[in-house]
């Protein structure tokens, strides 16, 4: 009988340790941890709920259908509006907001268009490129080329 008491004592200690471990684990491990794998499942939804900045071209077309139609006929047809005009979801949600489309000023224009069209051996040979220093160096690009109908 005395021996069983020894065993009982150890069993009680073990049981308490296991319950304590499970309790602490329950408090520390987030609720959705392990639902899909070794991570917090809720974080997937949290990341998916982050705010966007770029509206996507469909949003632009809703108001600026004329510009979109012009662009659709030009060699710039595959370039999204926000590629040149900047991130504009705030503008699409509220056109009166402070976020305005980027429209390069005349002085910046050669550098702006040059980001794509300046000649470089690193670019694909078929891509239309000009030598910025030789191609009418003092004229802004839009004197001859309209960005929505460049050619």
């Amino acid at each position: 009988m005395k021996d069983i008491q020894h065993l009982l004592r150890v069993a009680v200690i073990f049981a308490a340790a296991i319950v304590g471990f499970l309790g602490i684990r329950h408090l520390l491990v987030p609720e959705s941890f392990g639902k899909y794998g070794h991570y917090r499942a809720a974080s997937v939804d949290e990341i998916a709920a982050l705010p966007m900045r770029y509206a996507g071209e469909d949003a632009c077309k809703r108001c600026h259908s004329q510009q979109a139609a012009e662009k659709a006929k030009s060699s710039h047809k595959r370039i999204a509006c926000e590629s040149c005009h900047g991130a504009l979801l705030a503008h699409a949600d509220n056109p009166r907001s402070d976020v305005k489309p980027r429209r390069p000023k005349e002085a910046e224009m050669r550098a702006f268009c040059g980001r794509c069209h300046a000649r470089s051996v690193s670019k694909p040979a078929k891509f239309p490129q000009i030598d910025l220093a030789a191609h009418n160096p003092d004229a802004p690009c839009n004197m001859c080329h309209q960005p929505h109908q460049p050619m």
């Binding site: 987030p30 794998g37 070794h38 990341i47 770029y54 590629s83 900047g86 980001r115 794509c116 670019k123």
Partner: protein
């Protein structure tokens, strides 16, 4: 009737048990084998993949800029979720790689252009590996591969130990200077979940970048994976990237 000795009985029983076990386990084993051999995008919908056509990239850096705008990446020139490198290969075998502010700033003029054999731009981003070293080393389970194949960081759970930044073979991660957690490309998870393109794909003017659903055999990305001559970066380390490149040379790492 012939008398059955004990050893004969045991041999027969073991043999019968073996045959029965082989038959019973054959189907599940075959299923398990198939499960581990076939790519995951054959069984999960959607499953995101990414592709870069280097033969179309003009190095304008719009993607790197758009990524910073979309994802609140710090503007300092050390923090990038995506960036563009320019490779210059010379006749001597020398390889020069540069990336001024991740390709957002203008490229310098190429020195000694007559010795250049080839030069091209290589956009880089998180490769969303199937077997990601970063996921394997994370001690708390803060970085993981989601059900649809995107490697993400749980920034609330990240303890900022930087193991993953060390582990990434592609240098795709950085330590966020304000949040003090690891940060990386999420494949614009918040955009693709809403049916939008990623910011870099949206802003790429030449279509050099593309992404899509690999589980759809008719999607443009599946066709690109299947029919174009593509390769992945550092294939020998077995990470199985889901960013494939067309038109790169062996010098690109």
């Amino acid at each position: 009737m012939r008398k059955f000795t004990r050893s004969q009985f045991l041999k027969t029983a073991v043999g019968a048990a073996f045959v029965a076990a082989t038959k019973a386990f054959a189907a599940p084993l075959e299923a398990a084998d198939k499960f581990f051999r076939e790519p995951p995008w054959k069984r999960k919908k959607p499953y995101w993949g990414y592709a870069i056509d280097v033969t179309k990239c003009i190095g304008c850096g719009r993607c790197a800029d758009a990524c910073k705008n979309e994802n609140d990446v710090p503007r300092e020139p050390f923090y990038f979720r995506t960036w563009v490198e320019r490779y210059i290969l010379r006749r001597s075998g020398e390889v020069q790689v540069e990336s001024p502010n991740g390709g957002i700033d203008p490229w310098s003029d190429i020195q000694d252009p007559e010795t250049v054999t080839r030069s091209f731009f290589v956009p880089k981003l998180c490769n969303h590996c199937e077997h990601s070293p970063c996921v394997q080393v994370c001690p708390v389970g803060a970085t993981f591969k989601s059900e649809d194949g995107v490697v993400l960081v749980d920034q609330k759970y990240c303890i900022g130990c930087r193991y993953c930044i060390q582990a990434c073979p592609y240098g795709s991660r950085y330590f966020h200077p304000v949040k003090h957690v690891a940060d990386k490309c999420t494949l614009c998870y918040h955009r693709i979940k809403r049916g939008q393109k990623t910011a870099c794909v949206e802003c790429c003017p030449t279509g050099a970048r593309m992404f899509g659903d690999l589980s759809d055999p008719n999607s443009a990305i599946s066709r690109f994976y299947e029919y174009e001559p593509t390769q992945v970066l550092k294939a020998h380390i077995g990470t199985e990237p889901k960013v494939v490149y067309k038109g790169i040379t062996k010098e690109v790492r």
